[in-house]
């Protein structure tokens, strides 16, 4: 029997739970407004214990305003430590529909996987992809706790758009990450520091196996490799084409500049960015630019986002919900673009009706890629509701 390490913290929105073996089952709850909250907290604790066959444990809960999913995660963490259970129990998860490969992914919003306060309400900000992080934002000692927390977040929250999890490298805990969080059925898994076909294949095989065990449709879980090293950039064409699960490649500039010894600037990142876009397009998938880490500089963010859009990126990372409006503005089709796309598609339909092989608009030939781009712009526009000021 392991000693009861404390699961969780005393931060706002979190709770601290310990579990130790006892003669009988014992639940002790401390919280503000105990009269109001005690029965609810008790019910959550008992729900988790039932999954483990209601063992005789003394559970102590110190609540600091944790929502049910946080509380359940902390209790599960404490119970698994006490019972030395490493395999995750089943969880009743929200059923998500499979990710459409070509849906708008203007933004991918990072949220640290170990911080209940920052995870609370992360789904309401309108991000195209929420990216729950187990990698860089989570200290080593908190990885195991965080992956259980994220499983519960995934199971409890109906994300209006897409939800992904950034795991650790497969040999650095990423395998456990996948086995845990896949129970919550995320749309996809983000693979950091992807450097080769084998990295992607390795993850895809792990997903094959895990999906089969958990009864998830084969191929449901998509992959987003993050290219953020010199090797990754040089191999990105193969990475992008490595597996049908891959729907988007993302760029990570912070690690990349460190890896190649560059100072971060538009110029120093241009090669990597261009490589990634070409690789993604060649593989028929999307590309997303790196994050802009100065939260206090929305103008700088807008310039960088517009430059990324100009290069061909479909979207950009966000470190805080405050950046989303700016990013969405940069990557949404403008009203002019929508109007032009409408005319291109109309011209193509007209050409088809009249049986003419070539499509022309304003005296210029419209070739296949331009038409496809126009159709895609219209699909985006429809999906996003209206033109460029969509936030």
């Amino acid at each position: 029997m392991a000693a009861g390490r404390v699961a969780g913290s005393d931060a706002k929105g979190d709770c601290q739970v310990t579990a130790v073996s006892a003669e009988s089952r014992l639940i002790e709850i401390q919280t503000k407004a105990k009269d109001l909250l005690e029965p609810g907290i008790q019910a959550v604790v008992e729900g988790v214990l039932a999954q483990f066959g209601s063992p005789n444990l003394a559970i102590a809960v110190g609540d600091f305003g944790a929502l049910d999913y946080v509380l359940a995660a902390r209790v599960e963490t404490a119970v698994r430590q006490a019972l030395l259970v490493s395999a995750p129990p089943q969880i009743a998860a929200i059923l998500r529909s499979v990710s459409e490969p070509d849906r708008p992914r203007r933004s991918r919003l990072y949220a640290p996987g170990n911080n209940p306060r920052l995870l609370a309400g992360i789904e309401v900000h309108g991000a195209d992809c929420v990216l729950l992080d187990l990698e860089d934002s989570v200290p080593l000692a908190e990885k195991a706790t965080a992956r259980i927390l994220l499983k519960h977040v995934l199971a409890a929250i109906a994300f209006p758009e897409e939800v992904w999890v950034r795991i650790n490298g497969l040999d650095l805990g990423g395998e456990q990450d996948v086995r845990e969080v896949l129970l919550g059925r995320p749309h996809g898994i983000c693979l950091p520091k992807a450097e080769s076909v084998d990295d992607v294949k390795g993850l895809s095989e792990l997903l094959d196996e895990t999906e089969a065990v958990y009864g998830i449709d084969p191929g449901f879980t998509k992959i987003m490799p993050i290219v953020e090293t010199a090797r990754g950039v040089l191999n990105c064409a193969e990475i992008a084409a490595a597996d049908p699960r891959v729907v988007m490649v993302s760029f990570g500039a912070e690690d990349f500049t460190r890896d190649v010894g560059a100072r971060r600037s538009e110029r120093s990142l241009l090669f990597a960015r261009s490589m990634i876009i070409a690789a993604a397009r060649a593989a028929g998938i999307q590309a997303s630019d790196t994050v802009y880490s100065d939260l206090a500089d929305p103008e700088g963010l807008l310039l960088e986002a517009e430059a990324a859009r100009e290069l061909g990126f479909d979207g950009k990372g966000a470190i805080n919900p405050r950046q989303l409006a700016t990013i969405h503005r940069a990557f949404s089709p403008t009203n002019d673009e929508l109007a032009y796309a409408t005319r291109v598609v109309a011209a193509a339909q007209e050409a088809e009706r009249s049986g003419s092989g070539a499509v022309a608009l304003d005296g210029k030939m419209i070739d296949r890629p331009v038409l496809e781009r126009a159709e895609r712009t219209l699909r985006y526009g429809e999906r996003l509701g209206k033109g460029g000021d969509v936030a």
């Binding site: 706002k12 929105g13 919280t31 503000k32 407004a33 009269d35 109001l36 909250l37 005690e38 029965p39 609810g40 907290i41 019910a43 959550v44 609540d63 600091f64 305003g65 944790a66 929502l67 049910d68 999913y69 920052l118 609370a120 309400g121 992360i122 309401v124 900000h125 409890a156 805080n320 919900p321 405050r322 409006a325 509701g385 209206k386 969509v390």
Partner: protein, 514 residues
């Protein structure tokens, strides 16, 4: 009996007969009232007394009488505690305390209640005093809570007769003229006490900065003042900003502020000459900031912003985005400084702000207001007084006044505070009725009162996330187990008055939980 919003109100509360709330604007008064205390003076009367004790003696304060105070120093106030200590030393009993508000700094009031020095309270009780009174059996009569405007009305109407008004004055002259915006420790306007000074049997100005005659601006005038007392310290201006005055970093709260601003922009009211009031909470401050950005972008200049003055509001004035600030109280020292320096930062007393029995309230000139709440319910009723556990922990402030005055009243709330839901089926206490609440803004979207189809249409046309309040509630409720509700007994802790003196709700003693 049930009042107009279905709340059970007894016919008498303590020794008072109660008129039930009949609607936000049900009765308009048209008669004469004579509640003012008349007293003349000779040419060379000396008003300066050496101590608070001397003033208590001179005023003839005796057992059972009513004493009043303002709250402009908030957490920094020293005068309420000093006067009560002096009353206790003099062996006075059964005083009725009539402050505009009490704060945690006044927790010593609890000891005075226990000792019998204070036996009744009419006024806001923020924090520990409210928690103590909520236990029941502490006061000889239930407390009465009124909004800023309603308190003014109650004094004028003679509902509350003040025996001695004690007025903390950052600067005063020996003849009684006094202001809160000058002196060694300025706290901002003290005009909450203007009506007290006019109507009290005796008025005592307490200052730590006695300046040569005449002191101005004369928020308190010589003709209303009986005595002037000089003391070492009346309050600490650093504490007038009571905790809430930080620009929030919470993404959820910023999102609410963003949505609030978007709603204002698309409300139809956002045109040149636009006016608004926001509170001092984190969401309000952020919304004020965003609103300034939108005004700049749209080239709109507002006619006035209404205070509680804040740094944020002063910045809008300095940037030329609003022409005027009408200010009843200062929430930070930037606002106090601006009141001294900016001609367009105008002092306003609560009578001008929101007296129901008057021929005009500044709140009626407001286009938009954003206010907070401890709870809202599916009828759009708002509670700012009690928590979901039934504890009386906050005053009304200007909530009723602003909500019933503004053309568009928005309540800005997160759907959850920790594990406690903010949207409930029926609020624990109704402070402000749903009939004067137009929009509820949460991080999960905004809900429009069904009476405001016009606003709903405009918001939908602008692509704002308009939703049914019940749907927002259901989404938040999924994240938590149901919360136990308190069971209330018969004993009434406090009456919540509406602006016109009718009773909109009562706070009852909590006997247990479901």
């Amino acid at each position: 009996m049930k009042n107009a919003i279905g709340r059970e109100i007894p016919e008498r509360i303590g020794s008072r007969e109660v008129a039930p709330f009949q609607g936000a604007f049900a009765a308009i008064r048209n008669d004469r009232k004579l509640a003012r205390y008349q007293k003349g003076a000779l040419r060379d009367e000396d008003k300066v007394l050496p101590s608070i004790e001397a003033a208590i003696e001179a005023s003839g304060l005796s057992d059972g009488m009513t004493i009043s105070f303002h709250h402009s120093f908030r957490e920094g106030d020293r005068v309420i505690n000093s006067v009560l200590a002096a009353c206790a030393n003099k062996g006075l009993k059964d005083l009725r305390l009539f402050p505009t508000a009490l704060f945690p700094a006044h927790a010593v009031v609890i000891d005075h209640i226990k000792a019998g020095v204070v036996s009744r309270i009419e006024g806001s009780m923020n924090g520990p005093v409210g928690a103590f009174v909520s236990q029941g059996g502490k006061l000889s009569e239930p407390a009465v809570l009124r909004s800023h405007g309603a308190r003014w009305r109650a004094v004028e109407a003679g509902d509350v007769e003040i025996d001695v008004a004690f007025i903390a004055a950052p600067q005063a002259d020996s003849y009684g003229n006094a202001t809160g915006i000058r002196g060694t420790t300025p706290c901002g306007p003290i005009s909450f006490s203007t009506v007290d000074a006019q109507y009290a049997r005796k008025t005592v100005v307490i200052t730590s900065d006695l300046a040569p005659y005449p002191v101005y601006p004369m928020e308190i005038q010589q003709g209303w003042v009986d005595y002037v007392v000089v003391v070492d310290e009346i309050g600490d201006p650093e504490n007038i900003a009571s905790g809430t005055l930080r620009l929030t970093k919470s993404p959820t709260r910023l999102l609410i502020a963003r949505m609030t601003t978007d709603a204002v922009v698309h409300s139809g009211y956002f045109v040149d000459g636009f006016s608004f009031q926001g509170g001092a909470g984190g969401i309000s401050l952020a919304a004020t900031k965003y609103l300034g950005e939108e005004m700049e972008k749209a080239g709109i200049v507002g006619s006035f912003g209404m205070g509680g003055g804040t740094k944020m509001l002063v910045e809008l004035l300095h940037r030329g985005l609003i022409r005027t600030i009408l200010d009843g109280q200062a929430f930070d020292l930037d606002a106090v400084q601006s009141l001294r320096e900016d001609e367009a930062h105008v002092l306003m007393d609560p009578g001008m702000y929101a007296n129901y029995d008057s021929r005009g309230s500044s709140t009626y000139k407001l286009d938009a207001a954003f206010l907070g709440a401890t709870e809202v319910d599916l009828d759009f009723n708002v509670n700012v007084n009690t928590h979901s556990d039934g504890m009386l922990l906050h005053g009304i402030g200007g909530h009723q006044d602003v909500a019933s005055g503004a053309a568009m009243t928005m309540i800005t709330i997160p759907t959850l505070r920790g594990r406690i839901p903010v949207i409930v089926d029926s609020v624990t206490t109704v402070t402000t009725p749903g009939e004067v609440v137009d929009v509820i803004v949460t991080e999960r979207g905004l809900a429009v009162n069904p009476t405001r189809q016009d606003l709903r249409d405009r918001f939908l046309a602008a692509g704002l996330p308009v939703r049914e309040l019940a749907d927002i509630k259901a989404e938040a409720d999924k994240l938590i187990q149901p919360v136990r509700r308190p069971v209330f007994g018969e004993e009434i802790i406090a009456a919540i008055e509406w602006r016109d003196g009718t009773t909109i709700d009562v706070v009852r003693k909590v006997e247990g939980f479901e």
